[in-house]
Symmetry: C2
Subunit: 224 residues, 2 copies
DNA sequence: ACCTGAACACCGTTCAAGT
DNA sequence: ACCTGAACACCGTTCAAGT
């Protein structure tokens, strides 16, 4: 069990598939689905592909760029069907909810994506569809353009914040306790609003938030 | 220059200050201000404090918890003065803008904070002040309670997304190019809206976004 | 109780050298 | 041109052992 590193396991594998960007990204997505984004390391990925970590840099620039590629691959499973016409608002909320639900499973990816400007085909399709729905709702183009960013940023950061994986340790309990213990003197408005702050289920709050965002976007003109 | 690790440097330093949580967090904040959050590692922090990394775990639970503490320390420099009465909306936008500007300098911290539920005294003060301003604007308590979360999440994720540090490599250029090259056939709404998508300065878009959010929060009733 | 040396179990990325 | 072994320069966290 000691001794030199003998790559015996490599012989046990199917047959070394030729590498390509698609194969690398696909393997990365598979690892993320199985074990979470935190296990998608260059070393683990290389192992899975029967090569060394250095080889991956032929196909991806770096970790951040790989995360962007994983996102786009993940978005392939999102349906962009906008269904029956005349209900642009419901369709908008539905699409945003499905995008959020998808990212909810991978909060680490959401966190990473937040500091990227994704530009993959599926992400562009998402933006395009959202713009189309806002247009169907007769939202002025300038508000729609800025609004799409607000909507996607909200969806992504919601996934990053409340995501479902074990990584997410700190619970709202800490805040709840902190505020319970606090004298109403010091934080009177928190004390007064306490019940409302923790009320509602995740989906209820999310539904409300999307609707509030859409309301604001449609009703707030861009200056000038 | 080879040889054993002789901690000569420790003798050169002022005098080993007694450790405490406050000293640890203060040193962490100082490193972040000087070199960015990515340099705030347990090892660097320990070095700075003339001790080993293991010793820090007497005062902080782990990295995530330390980030929460750094945030609260950073928020100490935020002024919560709400100025003249009768202009709750302007004061709300002003406070949110100042919070965003502060976090803008430390996008890594913003990213980290997004998956925390901060509960430090300065963060609670911020929440309390925001709730007070919404109350002054006669916003129903339930909408205000849910709305504060939306506002803070937007501010924090904006800082995480567009932050100013070098870490942030991917520029909107990638997207701009991607969309310029795209045939208007495939993404008609993006092509149609292209000019509007990249228009405006950061502050203009931020100002608009905060106002749209506030509009939505004030005008969208919570169901039931 | 408080503190820490040393280890455990990893990282991303680069680059000289091979084919 | 494409690929990679090996190294560089680090990480967070734990724990047995000291005081």
């Amino acid at each position: 069990m000691s001794g030199r590193r003998v790559p015996v396991s490599r012989r046990d594998r199917p047959a070394k598939a030729p590498l390509s960007r698609a194969v690398v990204v696909g393997a990365a997505l598979a690892i993320m689905r199985a074990d979470g984004l935190e296990k998608v390391t260059m070393r683990r990925l290389a192992d899975e592909l029967d090569t060394g970590p250095a080889s991956l840099y032929v196909y991806v620039d770096n970790m951040a760029e790989l995360h962007g590629a994983i996102l786009d691959e993940l978005l392939a499973e999102l349906s962009f069907e906008t269904g029956a016409p005349g209900q642009w608002r419901e369709q908008l909320v539905d699409l945003l909810s499905r995008y959020t639900t998808l990212l909810f499973q991978y909060p680490g990816l959401a966190r990473s994506v937040l500091s990227l400007w994704p530009s993959g085909p599926h992400y562009l399709r998402l933006i395009d569809t959202l713009l189309g729905l806002l247009d169907a709702g007769l939202v002025p183009a300038q508000q729609a353009a800025w609004g799409v960013n607000v909507l996607l940023q909200h969806a992504t950061s919601t996934a990053a914040e409340h995501g479902t994986r074990a990584e997410n340790k700190t619970s709202p309990t800490a805040l709840t306790t902190a505020v319970d213990d606090v004298d109403a003197q010091r934080y009177p408005h928190i004390a007064r609003t306490a019940a409302a702050l923790w009320s509602g289920t995740g989906p209820q709050r999310q539904q409300w938030a999307f609707n509030a965002l859409i309301d604001g976007i449609t009703s707030t003109p861009v200056p000038e």
